[in-house]
Symmetry: C2
Subunit: 176 residues, 2 copies
């Protein structure tokens, strides 16, 4: 049987850099030969939650589903790297409590920075009222109070942030 | 990295014995120290598809979600044992096509036998019109045309069926 792995949960605003950093961490795990899977919020939504809205209730359902798949994978020795805004603290803590091992990575950027990037043009559409319940605009983002890892992607390259995440996972005893 | 495993997909009428046989096969894999997970239709529905109905569209969505989780687990070296009525051939074949390795186990019992067991009292409720779209009553069950494995749970003990499934998985080269 495989050794249990852990859930590596990236949370932060849209545009904070969650998916980019998740992919960079995945590349480093690949290089090390460590079993892993990236569960990106958008991809999971397509496969598990099509039809759900971005209301609080539907977001909670989507995030819970990611959490369920992630901890199932982790139980079978696969590091489950999740990248989802997951704006509500209570749901993240619920998933933490249900997981055998959970590492929360807060991608900390200001709304100004995230909105300034606006890679997908979503903030502009949200400001124009075209996307309701947009996190940071008309829906809250609840910062983690005691995340295991904090990354400030505004001050670091992707490579620096990825190296920080890996180093912290080692320090926490989840990676050797 | 783990070696890829396979999706072991049990299909058949309600009451055919899918969950019972899936658990028996899981116990044997446990005994052999082989990494596995049972994805039972009812359990997955609770975690991934709460709120979905038993209409054809909603059943398809639920079965597709089980398939997505199953092949993700299989990619990471975990034998994903799925037990879901999965009544429609096209959706099962779609999941087969999307999986790296897929073994379909048809639990073949007549409607008479399945309805005669009626462990959960569901057939009685379906006959009384309390459960619409019930497979075998007012919704079709499409038999697999070329399943890798057929089990006739009416003529075999659970142990015999489980031994047959394991032996066939070995013969097919999926287990050693």
């Amino acid at each position: 049987m495989n050794r249990p792995a852990f859930v590596l949960w990236f949370t932060g605003l849209s545009g904070a850099g969650k998916s980019t950093l998740a992919e960079a961490v995945a590349r480093e795990l690949e290089r090390r030969g460590v079993n892993h899977e990236v569960l990106d919020g958008d991809v999971v939504r397509e496969n598990l939650s099509k039809g759900l809205s971005f209301s609080k209730d539907d977001r909670d359902i989507n995030v819970r589903r990611i959490g369920w798949v992630a901890r199932t994978l982790a139980r079978h020795g696969c590091i489950a790297i999740c990248a989802a805004i997951s704006p509500y603290r209570a749901i993240r803590d619920e998933i933490r409590a249900a997981s055998d091992a959970f590492v929360e990575v807060y991608i900390q950027v200001t709304l100004d920075v995230a909105e300034g990037r606006d890679v997908k043009g979503l903030y502009a559409r949200a400001r124009a009222g075209e996307i309701p319940n947009f996190t940071g605009i008309d829906d809250p983002y609840e910062e983690p109070l005691t995340p295991e890892i904090v990354c400030s992607t505004a001050d670091q390259t992707v490579e620096q942030s990825a190296a920080h995440v890996i180093a912290e996972c080692v320090r926490l005893g989840h990676l050797s």
